[in-house]
């Protein structure tokens, strides 16, 4: 064991003034010593280092179903009482928890990237103007999604109880991810002779920002509608990427989205398992969300821009490009239905607006 004297020898000295050396030292009260709920904890690093989840041992791993404490007491510390509360609204585990949050947090940190230096921007080359305009329009809309994602999540973070710090910490990674997403797509729009495009429609964004009644309902819209759709769109953009710059961005963003979607789906699963009565509000949120999404999709801008990208230009957009767009939409719908099945949510394709139903789409559009 290192002794205090040993320790003293290895620590650098601080040169004190004569006045400081003569300071009268008050008698310490030391009333904070020997004050703990559990002592003797010795978590050792594993093969992934010392992770957040590995700290959940003994009393420190007890995560209660309710956290009524409206102060910033760290979980496992002795709390203080009698202080004015802070504005915490989400105090039940069922309202925010996902068992994978701590692991996702560490993964997010390990997979960090920087658009400035991890993308080889010099490798980009001029594209035909119609394609460049289409890519810039898609970038504009993805930037707008990212801006809204940040605002949605940050408007909730401070309302979450500190007893569930794993979720709060994971969400901090998601807002930085969204910030980086905005940055990367803005850079792409401004690097290759183009510019930003036309503002996108905002009905889904409105749903997300105005969904102030519950985090689980917000997550439902944010993940099952916005994030899942964007994830599928980026996968298609990657398939039709025109250069390594775009491919790199799409690959990195896909990883970021995968974590967000995992948290969201696992949170909804946890919420449904522990509060089955939430199913009603989740289904209602989905139904409203799909109406909003339907309204956004009536706008031709994103659809046409994607079709141009997928079709290799305006001419190709009228045929192959638009068919790929609808194939992409169908793939999104399938992933949504798969997620609903995993969550045991009774959602069928017939319940969705006709534009999401391959067989009914034609009648919806005429």
């Amino acid at each position: 064991m290192a002794t205090a004297k040993d320790a003293d020898r290895v620590r650098p000295a601080l040169t004190l003034t004569k006045e400081e050396l003569e300071v009268e030292v008050p008698e310490p009260r030391l009333n904070w010593m020997n004050q703990w709920r559990e002592w003797g904890v010795r978590v050792r690093p594993g093969n992934k280092g010392l992770t957040l989840g590995s700290l959940n041992v003994g009393l420190y791993g007890e995560i209660p179903m309710n956290w009524p404490d409206r102060s910033r007491n760290p979980r496992g510390a002795i709390g203080v009482t009698g202080t004015p509360p802070v504005a915490i609204q989400i105090k039940d585990k069922v309202d925010l928890w996902a068992p994978c949050a701590a692991d996702l947090y560490e993964e997010a940190i390990q997979r960090r990237w920087a658009p400035a230096t991890d993308v080889d921007w010099k490798a980009i080359h001029p594209l035909p103007e119609d394609i460049e305009r289409a890519i810039c329009q898609v970038c504009t809309e993805i930037c707008q999604y990212a801006i809204i994602d940040v605002e949605v999540i940050t408007s909730w973070q401070h309302q979450m109880a500190y007893g569930y710090h794993e979720v709060k910490q994971f969400l901090a990674t998601t807002t930085l991810d969204a910030t980086r997403r905005h940055e990367a797509f803005r850079k792409r729009a401004l690097v290759n002779g183009g510019g930003l495009g036309y503002e996108g429609p905002c009905q889904v964004s409105r749903l997300l920002l105005e969904s102030s009644g519950g985090w689980t309902e917000t997550v439902t819209g944010l993940i099952l509608i916005r994030a899942l759709f964007t994830q599928v769109m980026i996968r298609y953009l990657n398939r039709f990427a025109y250069n390594g710059v775009e491919r790199k961005i799409y690959e990195c963003v896909t990883q970021d989205f995968a974590r967000l979607i995992t948290y969201g789906v696992e949170h909804i699963k946890y919420a449904l398992a522990h509060a089955p009565d939430k199913q009603g509000s989740i289904l209602t949120t989905l139904a409203i969300g799909f109406r909003m999404f339907n309204r956004d999709l009536r706008d031709p801008v994103l659809r046409e821009a994607l079709a141009i990208v997928f079709g290799g230009g305006i001419a190709g957009a009228r045929n192959e490009g638009m068919l790929v767009f609808y194939e992409m939409l169908d793939e999104y719908v399938q992933e949504l239905l798969d997620a609903c099945q995993y969550l045991r949510l009774p959602v069928s394709i017939e319940q969705l607006p006709k534009v999401f139903q391959k067989d009914q789409r034609h009648s919806a559009e005429n």
């Binding site: 290192a2 205090a4 320790a7 004190l16 300071v23 030292v25 030391l30 009333n31 904070w32 010593m33 004050q35 703990w36 709920r37 002592w39 904890v41 690093p45 992934k48 010392l50 957040l52 007491n73 510390a77 002795i78 203080v80 202080t83 004015p84 947090y105 940190i109 390990q110 920087a114 400035a116 230096t117 993308v119 504009t140 801006i147 940040v150 605002e151 940050t154 973070q157 401070h158 710090h165 709060k168 910490q169 901090a172 990674t173 807002t175 930085l176 401004l190 690097v191 002779g193 183009g194 930003l196 495009g197 503002e199 905002c202 046409e304 079709a307 009228r318 045929n319 609808y326 559009e365």
Partner: protein, 356 residues
């Protein structure tokens, strides 16, 4: 929706949006640090409005859509309320200097410490976990209220939230890695009037959080070599200091911008500084302040054990002086140095009483 077919006929396209794009022919060029936010400040896209009318979350420079609903809950829509000149730099640096508390700290260098020193380390780690919570939550809340036209400043704040999240976890890890545990919370960040949480104005919040609060913590982290007993603790303090320096820089640069561009608010800001100074040594959020829970644990860490408490306390007094001196330099750099000459600041008196 346009007429579509699945039977071989072509889809009709509108394409009207192609005429509604922002400034075209933009060629941002990567610099030696890659393609940074500073590098994409070109032409029209570099223009930040003095007053933002963007209420729908569109990216700055995109063409507004008539009829967009004002869905953004933006109370910060004036540039001087949030702006700073070096936001792009701070954000890019933050991304480059992200680190992992799981793998970048040499945890295996930690060895058992005498019980009094371990208790002091754990008490300080408990306190720092607690205060890092507020430093993450409050900037996050302000981002949701800030127009995306000021995205550079928002980006720095989002990087700060990530940094604070990592600080929370690294100090929790420190408390639980070496045979100790978490100790007693202080309540330092409760909802008191004048607290960081309750500020109604961004600059007011920033003066409390970045300038005085994090400034005081930065001085402590910079003294980390004096409090560390192994390479793991040294790495923690060094990396946290690096992050904290960016957060403090945000506050200083924002206040400098505010001083230069909103002179009508100078007196108001002086009031924030009066309040911040009044609490510098008495406020429980300063780990070197007068709260015995933190000042005594720091003294034990600095001295090398309970037996050397007096020596540690004298070092603590020296650190308090440094906190005040560094605060003075920051406020001067922000453009409010006159208060130290015209008698408004009480820093001189405080300097004389740091031992109390």
């Amino acid at each position: 929706m346009d007429q579509q077919t699945h039977n071989g006929a072509e889809f009709e396209l509108d394409l009207g949006w192609m005429e509604k794009q922002g400034e075209w022919n933009t060629h941002a060029e990567p610099s030696k640090n890659g393609l940074t936010l500073a590098d994409i400040q070109v032409g029209f896209y570099a223009d930040t409005p003095e007053e933002s009318r963007n209420l729908s979350g569109r990216p700055r420079g995109a063409v507004p859509r008539p009829g967009s609903m004002p869905i953004g809950n933006y109370t910060v829509r004036t540039k001087s309320e949030i702006w700073l000149e070096n936001a792009s730099f701070l954000y890019e640096e933050a991304l480059q200097r992200q680190w992992s508390s799981a793998t970048d700290i040499p945890w295996d260098t930690i060895e058992p410490l005498p019980d009094d020193v371990e208790q002091a380390q754990c008490q300080m780690a408990t306190f720092l976990t607690e205060v890092e919570f507020v430093a993450g939550d409050v900037p996050s809340r302000w981002v949701s209220k800030t127009s995306p036209d000021f995205y550079e400043a928002r980006n720095v704040l989002m990087a700060q939230v990530m940094d604070e999240s990592r600080h929370m976890d690294v100090f929790r890890k420190r408390a639980l890695v070496n045979g100790g545990g978490l100790m007693r919370a202080t309540g330092a960040t409760a909802g008191f009037v004048g607290g960081i949480d309750l500020a109604r104005d961004f600059t007011e919040m920033s003066s409390r959080l970045h300038l005085s609060g994090e400034g005081a913590v930065l001085t402590i982290f910079r003294m980390g070599e004096l409090m560390a007993y192994n390479d793991a603790e040294k790495a923690i303090y060094r990396l946290c200091a690096q992050d904290e320096a960016r957060h403090v820089a945000f506050g200083v640069m924002h206040m400098r911008y505010m001083a230069a561009n909103a002179p009508e608010r100078r007196e108001e800001i002086e009031s924030y500084l009066d309040e911040a100074e009044a609490g510098m040594l008495t406020d429980a959020a300063n780990p070197a302040g007068q709260l015995n829970q933190t000042s005594e644990s720091l003294s034990i860490m600095l001295g090398g054990g309970r037996k050397y408490f007096d020596e540690g306390f004298r070092k603590l007094v020296s650190i308090r002086k440094r906190q005040l001196q560094e605060y003075q330099k920051r406020v001067t750099s922000a453009g409010f140095g006159d208060r130290f000459k015209n008698g408004r600041s009480r820093l001189g008196q405080m300097m004389a009483n740091v031992a109390n």
